[in-house]
Amino acid sequence: MWLSNSSIGRKVVMSVTGIALVLFLTFHMLMNLVALFSAEGYNMVCEFLGTNWYALLGTLALAALFVIHIIYAFWLTMMNRAARGSERYAVSVKPKTVEWASQNMLALGVIVILGLALHLFNFWYNMMFAELIGNPLMGGLSATDGYGYIVETFSNPVFFILYIVWLCALWFHLTHGFWSAMQTLGWNNTIWINRWKCISNIYSTVIVLGFMLVAVVFFVKNL
């Protein structure tokens, strides 16, 4: 199967799963913005997604995307370290045109996983699992009170700072990941590379700022 036994095939898997995750992030960010305007509106969205079989199916598909992206990430990194050989350069200089993020995608990805674990613990565990186990961790909020959980989480400065760090790592991952995925899929040339890089930077910034805005607004409200 060329998607696992050729280098370009493996990269295609990385880029397709990566782009699908980017689309997911876009929807998630837009949904979060609703919380800025209306608590009821936000909880309606939560209720809709919590009680909807399609949404549950979507969650499973999303989990699968993550798992594939992460397994391939570690696999590719291991192969690439082997290809590099055991001997390291005594002196090595990063050329100016090489983005720092592009050489640290795995480390950034690991921060993203850790942030994701925290996030699942803060929200998803309470909101999805609670329906099954009926025992939310954080006080007496009901499982569909997403708004309540946002308020709870961001009133804690430790969580607030961890979320900001997480979002910064995501920003670096995306600024490289987005255009890199286009390059991997072959949709690039000397003209488009600058366009894609520009689009990557703008798109990543908009997504990350959208998430951050919600975190900051709720943190400041609670001061």
């Binding site: 290809a83 050989g85 050489q103 390059q183």
Partner: protein, 251 residues
């Protein structure tokens, strides 16, 4: 006239692919700025021979930037600090009095060290043999204008063809990926009418050989493009990805 400079050389010495290597340090005195880097190593080797010591082994041939044999990793850059130039085109005026200059071989699993600074780049020949040619009988030479090729395409093919197969792209890459070289060699043919009939087969064959030889998966860091002495562009890699994906979807 350039000034003369004195500096310290730290050079990697290694007896064979499996041997443990180490750095040797040499003091170089009063080297004129218009000495090329390789001439400077010649001077060092003459001194070593006079002292009855073993000279430093390094690869070189044309010494005018066209053969791709010279292959030194100097102060953290393949082919040294100059851009768009090979080691043999690097002059000592680039360095300052009192500098420490560290010289290492290409370090990559695909290019094992033969001795000191010389590495085995025959993997590139094997990739070329897998498909870096056209197998169509082209017949007798015909008029140059019989097959019209738009100028931008001809230029792109020519830029890809400027690759001298030196291996700096692999040496620069944290993933030990040979994609810049392979994409240049595929593009120089796939862009032109004579190379088109076998384009997809070529992309598949050369990639499969590249993977088999243990080169890494390209993650688009662009270190190769920054260090390539011929400024080969990663747009060639995008083209290779495109051709390869097309070929696999067709299968």
């Amino acid at each position: 006239m350039d000034k003369n400079i004195s500096f310290t050389l730290k050079i990697w010495r290694q007896n064979g692919p499996k041997e443990q290597g180490h750095f040797d340090t040499f003091q170089m005195k009063d080297i004129p700025g218009d000495t090329s880097f390789l001439e400077m190593l010649d001077i060092l080797n003459e001194q070593l021979i006079e002292e009855g010591k073993e000279p430093v082994v390094f690869d070189h041939d044309c010494r005018e930037g066209i053969c791709g044999m010279c292959s030194l990793y100097i102060n953290g850059h393949p082919h040294g600090p100059a851009t768009g130039a090979t080691t043999c085109q690097l002059y000592m005026r680039r360095f300052n009095d009192g500098d420490v200059i560290t010289v290492e071989p290409w370090r990559s699993a695909g290019f094992p060290v033969i001795k000191d600074l010389m590495v085995d780049r025959s993997a590139y020949d094997k990739i070329m043999q897998a498909g870096g040619y056209i197998s169509i009988r082209t017949g007798a030479p015909q008029d140059a204008n019989a097959i019209l090729i738009p100028k931008p395409i001809a230029d792109e093919a020519m830029d890809a063809a400027s690759c001298i197969g030196c291996g700096a792209c692999v040496a620069a890459c944290k993933n030990g990926s040979a994609m810049l070289f392979v994409s240049a060699k595929v593009s120089q043919l796939n862009l032109l009418p004579q190379g088109k009939p076998e384009a997809l087969r070529r992309a598949k064959a050369m990639i499969s050989k590249m993977d088999e030889l243990g080169f890494g998966n390209c993650t688009n860091t662009r270190a190769c493009e920054a260090e390539c002495p011929k400024n080969v562009s990663i747009s060639n890699i995008a083209r290779l990805n495109r051709d390869f994906i097309k070929a696999k979807l067709k299968d």
